[in-house]
């Protein structure tokens, strides 16, 4: 029985906050492949995920984990040398995995799923005014024209916290700061009236004070427009602030998924707890930080068993042989690690995770 049946079968025990919502997007055993320098590599290895209406799901992972590729495959924005090899992406009545032609993708791009990108400096057309670039989305997806469309743009600019929208309408991107430009990019995404908003590391390129403002803005817009948000980031601090649920990705697969309290206070996959333990915020002065050995795998390596095995000092022999299935820890908490198998020896988590655990129990 593969992993997703296990998730579906246990849905009836979900906590009430998630239970009310229906999964508006279900991804099952998605495999995305690239050909790079003559060889085909799999960036996503049978990842499965269900997204519930109105929730805020964070996807955490390092470079090479495939988190960006995962969301790009939802919108058909994969690079020329990449393609969805197998698996299904069920969204309303469509299976996005089968979409090939631009005509299909236009049914969902913007209208259903909109996206905010990482680098505000290059996401906007430098030679077009801000107003025109937002207006394009308003005209396309809200069917407004002329004066009405312009007013709609003013409203949206105001909603994303841009002052004096009338004056700003005719200004160009280079006259805006990084934070303001990111607000425009968010305005464009929201103007498409999407169901799902994918934010691909929206705050990574910004300073910490502006980062906090943008996170707050996305939270407000989520409740105001009833959006379901997928938040991609490698910053666990940001995840703790914004996410209801967290999916941890490593080498193209979702190795652990659960409510944010479960992931932070009771991480089960060795990678998740190692990632938490190595954060300087939790480090004790004078003592060395808990550091994960080795380097994140690049896509050239064909992965046998658990991809994290090579870097895990407490890896089991089986980790190098067989790929771990999902183990259920609670109704909403699953992890792909043989440690959860009752035959596996007990492994205590890094000391720092215990500390974090006690502090949260208070």
């Amino acid at each position: 029985m593969n992993s997703d049946e296990m998730i579906k079968q246990d849905e009836k025990h979900l906590p009430d906050q998630i239970k009310k919502a229906m999964p508006i997007l279900t991804i099952e055993n998605l495999v995305v492949k690239f050909n790079l320098r003559g060889r085909s590599l799999s960036a996503i290895r049978e990842a499965s995920l269900s997204l519930y209406k109105g929730e805020s799901l964070a996807i955490v992972g390092e470079s090479g984990s495939g988190k960006s590729v995962f969301t790009k495959s939802l919108m058909g924005l994969l690079d020329a040398n990449g393609w969805v090899d197998s698996g299904t992406i069920q969204y309303k009545t469509y299976d996005l995995a089968q979409f090939k032609k631009e005509k299909d993708w236009l049914k969902i791009r913007g209208k259903e799923i909109a996206m905010v990108f990482q680098d505000p400096m290059t996401s906007l057309n430098p030679l077009k005014t801000i107003g025109k670039q937002v207006r394009e989305a308003v005209v396309k997806h809200q069917g407004l024209k002329g004066r009405e469309a312009t007013n709609a743009v003013y409203d949206i600019l105001e909603n994303v916290g841009i002052d004096a929208p009338r004056k700003r309408y005719n200004q160009y991107p280079f006259e805006f700061s990084g934070g303001m430009r990111q607000r425009v990019v968010i305005a464009i995404a929201v103007a498409c009236k999407p169901e799902i908003l994918i934010c691909d590391e929206p705050t990574t390129a910004l300073d910490v004070t502006i980062q906090a403002q943008i996170m707050e803005l996305i939270g407000e817009l989520q409740s105001k427009y009833g959006l379901t948000v997928i938040y991609i980031t490698h910053d666990l601090g940001v995840v703790a602030h914004v996410a209801d649920r967290v999916a941890v990705m490593y080498a193209g697969d979702i190795v652990e998924i659960g409510l944010s309290e479960e992931i932070f206070y009771d991480p089960r996959h060795p990678y998740t707890s190692a990632l938490l333990a190595s954060l300087p915020q939790l480090g004790i002065k004078g003592e060395p930080l808990y550091a994960i050995k080795g380097t994140p795998p690049n896509l050239f390596k064909k992965v046998e068993g658990d991809a994290f095995a090579f870097r895990n000092e407490k890896a089991l022999k089986i980790d190098f042989v067989k790929r771990p299935p999902y183990f259920k820890i609670s109704e909403t908490h699953y992890a792909k690690t043989w440690l959860m198998d009752e035959r596996a020896p007990k492994v205590d988590k890094p000391k720092i995770i215990e500390l974090l655990n006690e502090r949260s129990a208070k």
Partner: protein, 316 residues
């Protein structure tokens, strides 16, 4: 114990461009760095923190003010011998491992480039031995010397960058955001490496960064810089727990901790520059508590002092 002052910066000002489009990047900055400590310099992008690092390295010319290294003035015109001295004793680690190594040269040349310049080696075999020693001290295998940079991951390349500075046996290393371009799991490796090197080789760091939590973990003393001016400077825990300047408090409130319970209801203080009335009374660089300096007008200084009286330090 009397700490030896390694570096002293007095009223340093650095500006770019002339007349009409003159941009002052660093505006009258004062701080000292003592031997064997890690001095954190934290600020947002465009605050001038990198410019200060480059001014010390003599890459950027200084407009006014002085930089003393072991008592000798090293900014502005200096003689050849002193210049050699500065090159050998002050080294720099760069932010982006992908851009700070010469892709078309072997690791062997990259690491020993400094040796070639300063002739600090007897013969070829001595140079080879020095390169291998440097690679081993940063946790890389000696046979990597014959490879090219593009064959390594981000973390490994950053360690090569560190090896390149160690081969010169420097006393002060200016680390300009050394880990912000690295993956999370690699950061801890480089931080631990830098701390080990500090204890084994007695190095001193000027650690420039925008990530406050990293600075808190690694620094002994921290200075917060905003728009070219250092607004507050203190021993690390004193600053993080008893910050007085509104900008520092704004920055600290923006740090997101990996702890959902506290994160969900964290209030974020927005810093508003207009709260100061510096047009009425210029701010001065004053010591509000031993080793705790702040940039404030007299009126503000009194207000901060009252707020500080009740606070005591609890070591986390």
């Amino acid at each position: 114990m009397k700490r030896e002052k390694l570096l002293e910066v007095k009223d340093l000002t650095v500006a770019f461009g002339k007349r009409k489009n003159r941009f002052v990047a660093v505006d009258g900055v004062n701080f000292n760095i003592y031997k064997g400590e890690t001095f954190g310099l934290v600020g947002e992008s465009g605050s001038g923190k990198t410019t200060i690092g480059r001014a010390i390295m003599r890459i950027n010319e200084t407009d006014s003010g002085d930089i003393y290294f072991k008592g000798q003035k090293i900014n502005g015109k200096i003689d050849k011998k002193l210049d050699r001295e500065v090159i050998k004793n002050i080294q720099m680690i760069f932010q982006d491992p992908m851009a700070s190594l010469n892709e078309r040269a072997k690791v062997d040349y990259i690491v020993s480039e400094g040796l070639y310049n300063t002739k600090l080696y007897d013969d070829e075999s001595d140079r080879k031995r020095k390169v291998e020693k440097a690679l081993l001290s940063v946790g890389l295998l000696p046979e990597f010397a014959s490879r090219f940079p593009h064959e390594f991951s981000g973390g490994q390349r950053q360690r090569i960058g560190i090896a390149r500075t160690l081969v010169m046996k420097p006393e002060l290393i200016i680390a300009d955001e050394p880990i912000s371009a690295l993956d999370v799991s690699i950061r801890a490796q480089v931080i631990n490496l830098m701390n080990d090197l500090k204890s084994t080789l007695g190095l001193t760091y000027l650690f420039i960064a925008h990530d406050l939590s990293v600075v808190r973990f690694i620094s002994d003393r921290v200075a917060v810089i905003h728009k070219g001016q250092i607004v507050e400077l203190a021993e690390t825990e004193e600053l993080y727990q008893n910050a007085v300047h509104p900008y520092t408090k704004g920055l600290l409130s923006a740090i997101s901790m990996p702890d959902p319970k506290t994160e969900k209801n964290r209030q974020f203080e927005k810093y508003d520059k207009s709260m100061h009335h510096y047009e009425v009374e210029a701010p001065k660089w004053m010591e509000i508590r031993p080793e705790h300096w702040v940039l404030a007008s007299d009126e503000e200084f009194e207000r901060y002092k009252k707020a500080l009286d009740g606070k005591v330090l609890n070591n986390r």
